[in-house]
């Protein structure tokens, strides 16, 4: 039946299959405005009864031209855009951009600034994974329990961030060469206190979801992806590790001071939604161990930015592809400098963009409910996908 909407544009008619009493394929629109999409992302599923036959993703709703705008601001000015691409892990994105500029300009970073950066980035990984647990719980069916429990922990971490840099999400605290200002005096004690609460939070989420029979039934063998299929799609981060590839940039291509800590990388076996959940859960625990070690080794005094910083940063012409391990995967900044004070080209390699491109094979020939769970397990942040 042809449906006429108010603006007069005709909705697509359901695809009519000519067989006599065959069930009709319906076009379900998991539209930009839908609880399952964690943001502005549209997916048109062709559904035969409950089975998904075809999925066409539409992205680009959040495209703000971050790369073009970064080309028109000087090296220090474009830092603001990095917070706004991956707003769940803003410290990690800032860190990549700032490292890229420092490596281009050949600036050395003082020891204490390196430690504070690492600590804040790892806290941000915890923050992001807690967000995943909450959102994924709601996708699977926990009516808000997962959300409120995880947001209880997120509040504590965000209070610490607010104390350090005055903001809960868009921090803008890292600077080329170090930090904007000194972290507050009781930074280390507060961090330890927050870590104790977070450990309790992680075990709560673990008890609520991991061994729950219905949760396992809903997540096991859903959206499974083999290792080389994942690599071919450019998937990185927890999703790739869940498929059995121990690819973690903190170990593969170590940056900053990760070689001073010892921790472990969780690696899954089946690459399905349940393994992705377990990898992220284990990764939260590993982040806590890293943070404990970093907080103990952190020098309590020392400069947080190099003595001589040029007023107007004009790195020599050249290019760099700086990549670091964000909570969602490998976040890279390919920066080309042409000798002036504005970068000539800034390409942000967004992990969610490529993880999301691997959604289609996971969704075909599964149930509608599995399609939503698979989409949730990719843990997408649409601002980062569209940049």
């Amino acid at each position: 039946m042809v449906q006429q909407t108010f603006e007069g544009e005709v909705l697509t008619e359901p695809v009519v299959v000519e067989r006599e009493f065959e069930t009709v394929d319906m076009n379900i629109n998991i539209g930009p405005q839908h609880p399952a999409t964690h943001g502005v992302f549209r997916m048109v599923l062709t559904v035969d009864g409950e089975i998904v036959k075809d999925a066409i993703p539409y992205i680009g709703y959040m495209h703000r031209g971050g790369e073009k705008l970064s080309e028109n601001l000087d090296y220090r000015g474009a830092l603001g855009y990095q917070d706004r691409t991956d707003y769940l892990a803003a410290f990690n994105s800032e860190w990549v951009y700032v490292n890229a500029v420092e490596r281009l300009a050949g600036i050395e970073i003082p020891e204490r600034a390196e430690y504070v950066r690492l600590i804040l980035a790892e806290f941000n990984r915890l923050l992001s994974h807690f967000m995943f647990m909450g959102a994924f719980g709601t996708d699977v069916g926990y009516f808000g329990t997962a959300f409120t429990w995880t947001f209880k922990e997120r509040e504590r971490i965000q209070d610490l961030f607010e104390a350090v840099c005055g903001d809960r999400i868009m921090y803008n605290y890292f600077r080329v060469g170090g930090l904007a200002w000194e972290p507050h005096e009781t930074f280390i004690e507060d961090s330890h206190w927050v870590l104790d609460q977070v450990e309790v939070g992680i075990s709560d989420v673990d008890e609520l979801m991991t061994d729950n029979e219905v949760f396992v039934a809903r997540c096991r063998d859903v959206g499974a992806m083999t290792a080389d299929e994942a690599i071919s799609y450019g998937v990185t981060g927890p999703m790739l590790r869940a498929s059995g590839v121990p690819f973690d940039l903190r170990v593969e291509e170590p940056y900053s001071i990760y070689d001073r800590f010892h921790w472990e990388i969780p690696v899954g076996e089946r690459g399905d939604v349940y393994d992705r959940y377990l990898v992220r859960l284990e990764e939260m625990r590993q982040s806590v161990t890293i943070l404990r070690q970093a907080l103990d080794q952190m020098p309590t005094s020392g400069p947080i930015e190099p003595e001589r910083m040029p007023a107007r940063l004009r790195p020599a012409p050249g290019e760099i592809y700086m990549r670091q391990e964000n909570p969602r995967g490998e976040y890279g900044i390919y920066m080309v400098s042409d000798g002036t004070d504005k970068p000539w080209r800034v390409k942000m390699r967004s992990p969610c963009f490529h993880n999301l491109s691997s959604l289609k094979p996971q969704v075909i020939n599964t149930y509608l409910a599995d399609a939503v769970v698979a989409l949730g397990s990719i843990d997408i942040v649409l601002c980062e996908v569209d940049r």
Partner: protein, 172 residues
């Protein structure tokens, strides 16, 4: 018992009208889903008639089996398949054939009604409500053979349905 209009007669005539209207509705409803809804109203009317005859067990079973299970399956099938947009068969080529069959059936029914001698109880209170136990005994002692035959028939129908519905190998 004054022979004026008693409560049961009023209820009976209301139910009769409802059943007649919905029966006609089933046939002439433009939309096939309306036909299904009218079908429910007709069956509920039948259950009402049983209630008037104070045969509660049959009324409730009628409501349970037809009211919810059978009709839901019909609606279930209608919603999923393309049936609801197909042209109505009312004015198809086989219209005269249909009319002839309908007239034949009506003639048989009227003949049956006229032929049987109806023994009407002298008043509505004379009908004793039948206890659950007597119905149970009757089914499992006197009518045990037809009961089992119907059981076998239904299970065969069930297997047939499963055979039809299960996607045959070459489909997917």
């Amino acid at each position: 018992m004054e022979d004026g209009v008693t409560a049961t007669q009023v209820v009976f005539w209301i139910l009769a009208v409802v059943m007649l209207v919905s029966a006609i509705g089933v046939i002439t409803a433009g939309n096939i889903v309306y036909a299904a809804l009218f079908f429910i109203a007709a069956l509920a009317g039948v259950a009402g008639i049983y209630l008037i005859l104070t045969v509660e067990f049959i009324a409730l079973v009628q409501l349970l089996i037809y009211g919810s299970a059978v009709v839901i399956l019909i609606l279930f099938a209608l919603m999923l398949t393309r049936a609801r947009e197909r042209p109505q068969a009312l004015f198809g080529r086989s219209r005269p054939l249909g009319i002839a069959a309908a007239l034949g059936l009506m003639a048989a029914l009227i003949g049956g009604i006229v032929a049987t001698t109806w023994t009407t109880p002298e008043s509505s209170s004379a009908i004793q409500p039948v206890g659950l136990q007597t119905i149970g005994d009757a089914i499992f002692t006197i009518w045990i053979v037809p009961f089992i035959i119907v059981g076998v028939l239904l299970s065969i129908a069930l297997d047939g349905a499963i055979m039809l519905a299960s996607p045959d190998e070459d489909d997917n």
